[in-house]
């Protein structure tokens, strides 16, 4: 029913809509590149999303794959090849036609080792070259040396380049085209008049004439400008700002539910870390980690810090990731009494209310997080009080981000860390660099020569198995087991999953924020700017 109403609203808005208007919102940093295959930062990703024409698009609302420049596709040869049937009568922004040659050209550029493309790295499945075979102008086959897990979804990140255009990577097949870039100030995108999509009435999309992306790092200024009506949307806002705006004008803010972002803490289990051996023994103990986890009141964190716009986290995958999420069979409940009991059974004891280990060392550790992040500082203060209730003393240390990264990834001079995790990709393959024991982002003990524990070896095996399997359901079975082990062993203590919060101007029609990025403008070609009254009626 909700979807029917939404569709009706879209249709009504389309009928009443006029072409034109300039959508304005902020980038929080300078885009580092405009080359669509070299994107690694958020700002460049925004430009790539709005300008790039891709073969397959992940619908941000349904998370299903939708045909874009390819009308259909088929994975063959046991997952090592994909055949695309391409759309006819599509041209790039400079008028050059889109054909199978352009797909081949794009894949060659993407896989060129000299380009150092992070997007391309996701396609590297084994030793050997990626070959592209053009069967006809509208049919192309890409062959990989080994099966690539979740292959078709990876094409959501690959904008097509024109092989014939003299502008090369500046000729785009997306709804907008880069018009002007003023460093430190703004990026102006104008409507791509050659864009292939049309609306229900046959009108060529996008509706908007331009999108002005203003570079603004200060979040308070961004919010103030939004409130003055100078910006039309804020893609992602802090819970505190959301709470404030919703108290003033509830119709301006939108909570799309759990996002892919979560906050977590972990203990340093690196045997070479410069911390006392008795502390290393605590941190390696599953009982200790689980006791700490059980003593943290996640529901309070969601209520107090996030004003209810977050969920207690249950594991490495957010419920927003509909296919890959697996609810834990034994969810971590808040139970400090039981946690203390388990610790006492494990040899810890209480002296004047303070917990001591069996050798008599008081249980005390430092928790580092990045300075200036109010949400994390508050979480750390809450953890401090929660753990004090079971006799554990926590020293909260805020460090500037560079020092923090140096400690957790280079010299390992820390005991516990509180940080956030953002999954940009729904597929767990993108988390190989976290779960493999040899990976550099295996934060609790990175870059292991051999898995330090049996359960880490099992995670390695399962992650490799899911990566070499093409059948999605089979992959999910493997990754479900990974989630179960992580939930049981608690190397990461997942704290909260943040909700996807955005702010939208009443003048913005057809917006339907999603849980995954880019939340508020994922359907940019359908967005319409309209008078406020009309907008409020439709929304």
């Amino acid at each position: 029913m909700k979807r029917l109403l939404l569709s009706f609203a879209f249709a009504a808005a389309s009928l009443m809509a006029q072409w034109g208007g300039e959508l304005r919102f902020c980038l929080r940093s300078e885009p580092k590149t405009f080359h669509p295959l070299q994107v690694e930062d958020d700002a460049s990703e925004t430009v790539r999303y709005l300008t790039g024409g891709v073969l397959i698009r992940v619908n941000r609302l349904t998370q299903a794959l939708e045909p874009e420049l390819a009308t259909s596709w088929k994975i063959t040869q046991h997952g090592t090849a994909i055949v695309f049937q391409l759309r006819h009568n599509v041209t790039f922004s400079d008028g050059t036609p889109f054909t199978a040659e352009d797909v081949a050209f794009t894949m060659r550029a993407l896989m060129d080792p000299a380009l150092h493309s992070a997007t391309g790295d996701a396609f590297r499945s084994g030793s050997g070259e990626v070959r592209t075979m053009v069967a006809a102008d509208d049919r192309v086959t890409i062959v990989f040396p080994a099966p690539v897990a979740g292959l078709e979804r990876l094409f959501d990140q690959v904008p097509m380049l024109s092989s014939r255009s003299p502008q090369k990577d500046m000729a785009v097949a997306g709804p907008f085209v880069l018009d002007k870039y003023t460093p430190g100030y703004e990026v102006l995108l104008k409507r791509n008049s050659h864009y292939w999509k049309t609306d229900a009435t046959g009108r060529r999309l996008p509706y908007l004439d331009a999108i002005r992306l203003e570079i603004q790092q200060n979040r308070e200024i961004e919010v103030a400008r939004f409130q003055r009506g100078e910006l039309h949307l804020i893609n992602s806002i802090e819970p505190e700002v959301f709470h404030r705006l919703s108290a003033q004008t509830p119709s301006l803010v939108y909570d799309a539910g759990p996002s892919l972002e979560s906050e977590m803490m972990w203990f340093n289990q690196n045997p070479s870390a410069a911390i006392p051996d008795y502390k290393k023994a605590w941190f390696r103990s599953k009982i200790f980690r689980r006791a700490i986890s059980a003593s943290i009141n996640r529901a309070d964190m969601c209520r107090v810090i996030y004003f209810g716009h977050a969920q207690p986290a249950t594991g490495p995958i957010s419920p927003a990731n509909r296919f890959w999420y697996r609810a834990p069979s034994k969810p971590q409940a808040y139970n400090p009494a039981e946690a203390r009991q388990r610790l006492l059974q494990d040899g810890f004891h209480l002296e004047d209310g303070a917990l001591h280990d069996r050798e008599g060392h008081p249980v005390e550790f430092s928790l580092v997080t990045n300075a200036g992040n109010k949400v994390r500082e508050r979480m750390a203060a809450m953890i401090q009080q929660d753990l004090e209730a079971i006799g554990i003393k926590v020293n909260v240390v805020t460090l500037d981000f560079r020092s923090l990264i140096e400690r957790i990834s280079q010299n390992f001079r820390y005991e516990a860390c509180l940080l956030g995790l953002t999954n940009y990709d729904l597929d767990p393959n993108s988390q190989m660099n976290v779960w493999l024991s040899s990976a550099s982002n295996h934060q609790w003990y990175p870059s292991q020569a051999q898995p330090a524990t049996v359960w880490e070896a099992e995670i390695d095996r399962l992650m490799r198995a899911q990566a070499s399997t093409v059948v999605r359901e089979k992959r999910k079975q493997y990754f479900d087991k990974v989630q179960e082990i992580v939930s049981d062993e608690a190397p990461f203590l997942y704290l909260v999953t943040k909700n996807s919060l955005s702010a939208l101007s009443p003048k913005l029609l057809n917006a339907s924020p999603a849980m995954i990025r880019p939340q508020a403008y994922w359907n940019a070609e359908n967005l319409i700017l309209s008078p406020a009254q009309l907008a409020s009626n439709v929304r």
Partner: protein
């Protein structure tokens, strides 16, 4: 002016006394989180309301005032002693010694404090308890803050060295340490006092600035710095005017410190 000075002393003494007995005056422990009363307005139970974690603002203000008011003068004393030793002796001795000290002072003044503080903070052991951490914070500020007063004290010592009174003392056979301690040091006292009283509010504001970027006193210990962080959000200010209380106390205390300077020392 004398009356204003007396009032300033009275106000400072009152604030000192109340904050010193915070353990008895504060209605709740400064770290206690009343999570069902988050961001509450001022009430009978919470005189200045509660902060975003439900901690009693009045209690935190009392404890925070104690920390800032005790440690800022200590840091000011440390930096003033260093300034007297380095600047005073350089001004008295003159010559090469003076030139070398001047260059060192210039280097210290040109160092960006904030970045230096970031480095020092990053090098500190992580398991430092909050109270030791705050002492270290003020100590670092004291150790880094000697350069500006040293330049002024050096100038004072240099002018005294060339003054008629010192010339007269020398002519009478007074030399070395006796000349320094009996004839120069007493005449430098007003300048040194002025530098000390100026340094106190500077360090209070310095810690407040560090607190604003989350690098001041560690949680859960309150200080004026981390209490003032709430003011970073102007919208909160509109709805919860009682968050201004720490700022009010800070303004009163800093103003009172200025009135403590005698008129004669102001003029000098």
């Amino acid at each position: 002016m004398k009356r204003l000075r007396q009032i300033a002393i009275g106000v400072l003494a009152l604030i000192f006394a109340v904050s010193l007995f915070a353990n008895f005056v504060a209605p709740a422990p400064y770290a206690m989180q009343f999570r069902d009363f988050v961001s509450s307005p001022a009430s009978r139970h919470f005189l200045l309301g509660t902060d975003e974690l439900g901690r009693d603002r009045w209690s935190r203000l009392l404890y925070g005032t104690r920390i800032s008011l005790l440690l800022a003068p200590a840091a000011a004393l440390l930096s003033t002693i260093m300034a007297v030793l380095i600047g005073g002796i350089a001004g008295y001795l003159g010559g090469w010694w003076d030139r070398i000290v001047l260059r060192i002072i210039d280097i210290f003044l040109s160092i960006p404090w904030l970045f230096l503080f970031l480095i020092v903070r990053a090098m500190l052991p992580l398991n430092t308890p909050p109270l030791e951490s705050v002492v270290l914070t003020f100590s670092v500020m004291g150790l880094l803050g000697w350069a500006a007063p040293a330049r002024i004290i050096r100038a004072g010592a240099q002018s005294l060295r060339n003054s008629d009174l010192v010339l007269h003392a020398r002519a009478c056979g007074c030399r070395g340490l006796r000349l320094l301690l009996v004839h120069i040091a007493p005449n430098l006292k007003p300048v040194v006092w002025a530098q000390f009283w100026i340094a106190v509010p500077t360090f209070i504001l310095g810690e407040a600035s560090l607190g604003l970027i989350g690098l001041g006193v560690a949680e859960p210990l309150p200080s004026w710095g981390n209490l003032l962080r709430e003011l970073a959000n102007p919208q909160v200010l509109m709805s919860n005017p009682w968050v201004l209380a720490p700022l009010g106390v800070l303004v009163v205390v800093v103003s009172c410190f200025q009135f403590l300077l005698p008129q004669k020392e102001f003029a000098q």
